[in-house]
Symmetry: C2
Subunit: 311 residues, 2 copies
């Protein structure tokens, strides 16, 4: 920004200005770090594929990175990675710093998707959370094995919505829904977190007013069940609307089937490959390589098309 030219009068005023006049919150940046990883199958051989279906390609599922809190509040609960903002940092810079500290990832795309500032969301006091989401290639990053103070794990994410009540009159309406968020740790079989979030959608003066409440935190810290739900829904809507974020989940070169599987994992529905290929044709470039030895017709390898990503 251009240098702000202050008058002498203003300079004097500013010197006597006491910023402590107003109450101030702490600010944090929290992150929903998503990836896609192979779905662990129970009946699998040492090669990582089940004996009956040795020719089948591995399934991939959406994952989110959670950290077990080593200290109060919510000690031993699972939470999104994140941390407090510091003087001189923008909320985005805080998020980048935390992401690097916790995953080593440097050049990810961070999407700000919501602000959580409701009173009482943190027992320590007035703390505002700026929430970001990001997609990273899970194969590049291996989570810490964990210690007493620190444990990071990938959890599979499944969300279900169930409408539980509907009142609709002429000028007023209300729809209550229950979201079940199921998070399952991949490396620890017995670790499953199930949270429930109640959504109340009111229709007032031709506007929707949505309020959410964590009914059952399921072992998640703070309001993070709510944040995770918002992140998940926001991610889906971004991908549905055509944002090319999915490519962040892919390595440099990939097959179109792998890319399609990534889309399907995030969107939660299967796509017809003919239509999918038409849709993403502009975003990719063919390479000369192919993948062989997979038990079926070899696939061409593709890479991102820079021209399409930047215009």
């Amino acid at each position: 920004m251009e240098a702000y030219q202050m008058s002498e009068e203003e300079r004097v005023w500013l010197e006597s200005y006491d910023i402590n006049r107003y109450d101030r919150p702490s600010v944090a940046s929290d992150m929903a770090v998503f990836s896609i990883l192979e779905t662990k199958s129970r009946s699998c051989s040492k090669a990582g594929r089940s004996r009956e279906n040795y020719r089948k390609d591995p399934e991939k599922g959406l994952r989110i990175l959670l950290i077990r809190r080593g200290s109060f509040p919510y000690r031993d609960c699972w939470a999104l990675p994140g941390g407090f903002g510091r003087v001189g940092e923008s909320t985005q810079e805080t998020a980048f710093r935390e992401l690097y500290e916790e995953t080593g990832v440097r050049d990810a795309y961070l999407e700000p998707f919501a602000i959580f500032s409701e009173a009482g969301r943190d027992p320590r006091g007035w703390i505002i959370s700026h929430a970001f989401l990001t997609l990273i290639d899970g194969e590049k990053y291996r989570v810490h094995e964990g210690s007493d103070a620190w444990e990071a794990r990938w959890f599979s994410v499944h969300v279900e919505k169930k409408e539980t009540g509907r009142t609709v009159e002429a000028q007023y309406g209300e729809i209550v829904s229950l979201y079940t968020v199921r998070l399952q740790c991949m490396e620890r079989d017995n670790l499953e977190l199930t949270a429930t979030v109640k959504e109340r959608k009111q229709f007032i003066a031709y506007h929707e007013k949505v309020t959410c409440e964590v009914v059952e935190s399921g072992g998640l810290a703070f309001d993070h069940a709510h944040i995770i739900l918002c992140a998940f829904l926001h991610l889906r809507s971004l991908v549905e609307s055509g944002k090319p974020m999915i490519f962040d989940l892919m390595p440099e070169v990939f097959t179109l089937s792998e890319l399609q599987k990534a889309y399907e994992a995030v969107l939660g529905r299967s796509l017809l490959s003919a239509n999918f290929r038409r849709k993403i044709a502009d975003w990719v470039m063919e390479t000369e390589s192919i993948v062989e030895g997979a038990g079926h017709r070899p696939a061409k390898l593709f890479r991102r098309n820079p021209d399409r990503f930047f215009r």
Copy 2:
């Protein structure tokens, strides 16, 4: 949220927790309040229509509400309405309170669109702005005539984009553009604010990184030229993508031409009425009334269709 069950150990810990351990910012909510109002034409009769075109319908243009600051910093500069958040308030509640205090509007839709938290954006110190935008029916609200300490005015908004530089290589690219934001006060002929914002769009690792800088504030306080630009672009993209926000600019009943003019004012381009009518057909219901005495074929009056607004 469900009551958080604290252990005795945690309760003891919390009592000794000092929230002042971390630096904290002040937080503000700023609002871009948009409306559409008649374009003042210089050659007009007392009836408000120009003599040559007495049969023509009035033009409408996009407006934004600005407030002249009565105190430091940026005294006498124009700024978005807004104010500091208080303990116990969410950022959204702060925005609603400020909107009501400054316009009397109660049931508007507030869209959060960005967070401004760059270091140095406010000479008073670390202040984070949570920015909202809203559309209101300008005919319902008359701005204060003003005093020394207080003056609120509607400004027309015109934005122009000009690309000034482009470097594109294989893996790296940069596009620099200059946005000119022209704000013209309707009631005070000689009051025109012209701000310039430089946008630098970098292409790194298949991601766009956009940074903006206010090159010329044009009499606007803080980084509000940047906030206004973001609000304007965000509003357009929301309307382009089909959000029915425009209806907030309309009275209870309206003609389809009026509605179309509102769309055109926000989108900055003219629409073909046949296509427009088809597109918004589901959102409106015909009433029995018509508008007569306008110098041409009378138009049917429509109202919002609640079923379409809430599902």
